[in-house]
Assembly symmetry: C2
Homo-oligomer: 336 residues x 2
């Protein structure tokens, strides 16, 4: 049994998680180690033995045991006791850190699959993912560009939503990886309402009290009463009305430029952003190191680090596991 | 003669301004008081007697003397000695704070005109503007929606560029007040090059050393090598090449979401942003109270506060003149 602290250090934690940490049964959280040639294995090794983590959950690393042993030897790290390896045939000696390798992409996807299966059958309370490499996935014959698509497919859902979360700022995105010009055609009242509802649901677990959320406009100054652009009156105004009918405390359309000014960050627990950069520019400006990526709208709890594979510093002992710890703590809060 | 400090407190100031402050001739800076029913008159009164301001320049308030006296009486403020009033017939007693009035719009435009004329004939080294009200301008028969258009027309130029400046972040905008959907059609290599050149020129006066600037992409992840959107290869790549040919230290296209992360704010003295919210979302998140709006590409130096008329708190003694002081100090640096 790991020691249990009554005062967990992370301020990410809502009352629910504190109760979980004080119980005798800590939640079991799967950590997929991500692309073997990136920084994933290293940060997973560090997080798996991190005392702050062990106070709050029982982490299980999902990945190649041989690879983890190799990375641990290289960096003089300890391998945590709980490792689940569904790929015992994986040739860990063939991995070249910092490179795209087909076998790595294929294996990394299998580890994610194992975590999803474990979450769905109740062995894991949640899963936390280290970064994948899109090119390695493609080379390995994986028909998905990343976690989100893979998760949605395996869970048989659509309409999953990306939430970027930090104590200081939380943004949920109505559209994500698509061209600037294609955004207006992808907006609808339904999508905005769906995003707002999932954001409010998540914030009820993550923040104190009933959260108030903001929905941003698309145009400068939210279109200045229709002077430039009308997406605010077509999509945002009816979406805000519908969200209110559904019991969500909600304002909008907010002028995007002031939506993240200090007073509005204080006023709103979270923001619904209509496109990727509208949410991620302020998020990364304000919360670069601590951000957690949460997939909302899945039947399981999944959080992720807020960074990529960082091939340039892989296996060099330079990577910080700070974002992974934040992601783990958030997974605990959301799943317990 | 006002006292001269050898250690001005503002960190906005480059060496040039420090020299000016230590000389016997302080630059004369015009302050237009903006819409009479807004917070402009109040903050102008405060700035006009602010000791930090008086150490660096000789401010001249441009507006109705009777109105300034009325606001000063209401708020128990002092009227600075240098006031220029080209509208002695203005009925100050008719002004109702916090309301749109045709006479106010018409007068406010005349004050701006007087400042422009004074800058052009050399009486003023620069002009600093308090906020106008767009509806009052229209009601008063002024055929311009705001300062920028009025300035460009009176100075006979086009291609003026909006720079938002703060010690921590400086953004120059290629497009400003137009619908989201119209932005891609307004982009061109020439406009981006023009914006980058003016930004680099301004930063050479405002920051130490040769500035390095960043040009952002339009699409998420700067289009991820053409996967979504091609504006990066069509416009940004050739613009960055041309800027380099012209001797500007310049990188781009930068992925917008990480362009304002701490490491990139440190690396780049300024950012060229392709649309309003791409630049103003991070600017207002990081520099809400201290921002200065600078119009580049004019034959005169003009800076402005970074806020509106704030009708809701007009004449109540609640407005801070902090942004106006920043704007004044920046005007001194840019004009001396």
């Amino acid at each position: 049994m790991v020691p249990v602290s009554k005062k967990p250090r992370s301020s990410h934690l809502a009352p629910r998680a504190r109760r979980a940490s004080a119980s005798t049964e800590l939640p079991v959280i799967a950590i997929t180690i991500g692309d073997p040639a990136g920084i994933g294995p290293e940060i997973a090794l560090r997080a798996g033995v991190d005392r702050a983590v062990l106070k709050l959950c029982k982490p299980v690393l999902i990945g190649s045991r041989a690879l983890l042993a190799r990375v641990a030897r290289t960096l003089k790290l300890r391998v945590p006791k709980d490792v689940f390896d569904p790929t015992s045939e994986f040739a860990a000696a063939d991995v070249t850190p910092g490179t795209v390798q087909a076998a790595n992409g294929a294996a990394a996807a299998r580890w994610v699959d194992a975590a999803i299966a474990g979450c769905r059958d109740g062995r894991f309370a949640a899963m936390v993912t280290c970064p994948l490499n899109k090119e390695a996935l493609a080379a390995g014959g994986v028909p998905f560009p990343g976690h989100t698509e893979l998760l949605a497919h395996r869970c048989g859902v659509s309409g999953e939503i990306m939430l970027m979360y930090d104590r200081k700022i939380a943004v949920a995105l109505v559209t994500v990886h698509q061209a600037y010009t294609s955004v207006p055609g992808s907006l609808s009242v339904e999508r905005i309402v769906h995003t707002g509802e999932l954001l409010a649901q998540a914030l009820r677990r993550l923040r104190k009290g009933e959260p108030r959320i903001a929905v941003l406009g698309l145009n400068p100054h939210a279109g200045e009463h229709g002077l430039f652009g009308n997406e605010e009156s077509r999509f945002v105004v009816p979406a805000v009305e519908e969200l209110r009918r559904r019991g969500v405390l909600c304002d909008g359309p907010l002028p995007p430029d002031t939506a993240f000014a200090p007073m509005n960050r204080k006023k709103y627990a979270g923001h619904v952003c209509l496109y990727h950069d509208q949410g991620l520019i302020p998020f990364k400006a304000l919360a670069f190191d601590d951000g957690v990526n949460v997939t909302l709208g899945l039947p399981i709890v999944r959080t992720s680090v807020d960074h990529g594979t960082a091939f340039d510093i892989a296996w060099q002992g330079k990577a910080t596991h700070r974002s992974l710890v934040s992601a783990l703590m958030l997974a605990v809060t959301l799943s317990t």
